[in-house]
Symmetry: C2
Subunit: 335 residues, 2 copies
Amino acid sequence: MFIESTREIRLASYPAGLPTAANFELATTPVPPLKQGEVLVKNLWMSVDPYMRGRMVNRESYIPPFQIGKALDGGAVGEVIESSSPRLKVGDVVLHQFGWREHVVATDSAFHLIDTRLAPPQAWLGAIGMPGMTAWTGLTRIARAQPGETVFVSAASGAVGTIAVQIAKILGCRVVASVGSEEKAELARTLGADAVINYRSARDLTAALHMAAPEGIDVYFENVGGSHLEAALNLLKPNGRVALCGMIEQYNATEAPRGPANLGLAIVKRLRLEGFIVSDHWGHYPEFVKAMAGWLAAGKIQTRDTIREGLAAAPDAFIGLFRGENTGKMLVKLA
Amino acid sequence: MFIESTREIRLASYPAGLPTAANFELATTPVPPLKQGEVLVKNLWMSVDPYMRGRMVNRESYIPPFQIGKALDGGAVGEVIESSSPRLKVGDVVLHQFGWREHVVATDSAFHLIDTRLAPPQAWLGAIGMPGMTAWTGLTRIARAQPGETVFVSAASGAVGTIAVQIAKILGCRVVASVGSEEKAELARTLGADAVINYRSARDLTAALHMAAPEGIDVYFENVGGSHLEAALNLLKPNGRVALCGMIEQYNATEAPRGPANLGLAIVKRLRLEGFIVSDHWGHYPEFVKAMAGWLAAGKIQTRDTIREGLAAAPDAFIGLFRGENTGKMLVKLA
């Protein structure tokens, strides 16, 4: 199969605050012929994730910033449609980091063959992919949640949150979930949350969390920042743990965010707050995949996706993450 | 020896902001006759410590608040002058929690016999007592500082800080110290600090810390809070650790303190911030005493005391802690 050109989304400019369509550019780009060891992959699904906002700032971080005028990248699943590799054949479904484009040519080692009998292609961008692995890592390796403990999960209807709620239940925890709408609250309950807070209607998040967890919380899975973290610090029991996974509230901030005024409670309550990046833990990915495949097969983990169609919809899908437009994993279907 | 009455300092009122002399009351109180198993102790030294401010607030915490009209308490060292106990004899020197008074009668189990050959009586309130144990616990058990790492110690001229600087050097670390005057800076250098920041003259603490530790810091020993913590978060290397020991800057705050605006860095740099209370770690006190006695004997740890004379000076000594009036351990000499 010979393809002369494909389409990709490039970063047109670094956003100030919430990104807009003008920060992105849809471009056509040539597809080079394959060299030995390379494959041509047609993308089926691509992921948009909140962490990508951090790469739209021109500064040093744990992962380099996106470059103006270059294609963005990120998680994607595609099908091999041409191969000069002995390792991958036409029809193989692969997970890789060349998202935000319809086709890609690269050396076979950049692609991870996935087993679609364990989970459908798009789940490898969600429950059994990076977001699911993030939820599992935060709960089991960072916060080390124990059976009988109370776990508070913020952004509980998001890609990571929906899985975190369900894994915490599997671990034998009581789960308090925070979400931003009544519809999402209903979802959180369906996924097993024992108590749900709608932070948009709760006037006082500490009071709401106290009502939901009168005896306090042992673990806070932090996805939001700001007043969520303050409420969690107020309610954490002695020796409580905070898995610092994300602070989506701050990703588009144009002023310095307000830090938690009650961080001193970490001393009197001997709290541990620990930040983590899932990529540091990939050595445990096979262990996670085995567990998650079992939970999916047993119906113990349900997946939820919000799907946008076509590459041109990707910027809007991404921007929608910060408007709370996704329930579960936000995905772009490319083919 | 029969003593009819003694003097004690009582809490007259809960302070608002920085305590004043009016919050304290010097009172005379009867000394009861000894019952079986009790001893009469004449206090030689008493300790004033910043954590006591937290007990001058009428709220639930890890340690109950002081009660209005009752004697304060805290670390003290005294001599047994009368004994109805088979365990303690006249002349024994003991460490105990009945500070803020000249004499005390209590059951023998409330007193810990100390070996004044290992260190002089007052050192058991400082280097080889709670502040020293706090420094050791924070560095070795919480932050787990490793040889070759860079450790930043705030309030480095204080009771905990002076010891933390020296233990960090013994552990083979490079030490950056923050202090509040040129005189204290000189002391920190004498104690072995490799670089010293005078936070009162540094306009930008992050810039000053960057200058002192161009490659960043691995460990922050937090005694201050506020802009010190923000600067530390800015300079911490990936996988850095913060031992949250105290936030003296906030103890007299009458408004909610400003939290660190850059706590999100804990995620991208995978930082661990962990609060601790030394009393949780007393099981390790014998291990610490053994190590510290050796360091003191070898001249590897120097002690510094700021001494006020007489019980009536105790409130002023305590208030002085928040004005930075102490260099090293603030002590009140009672006899």
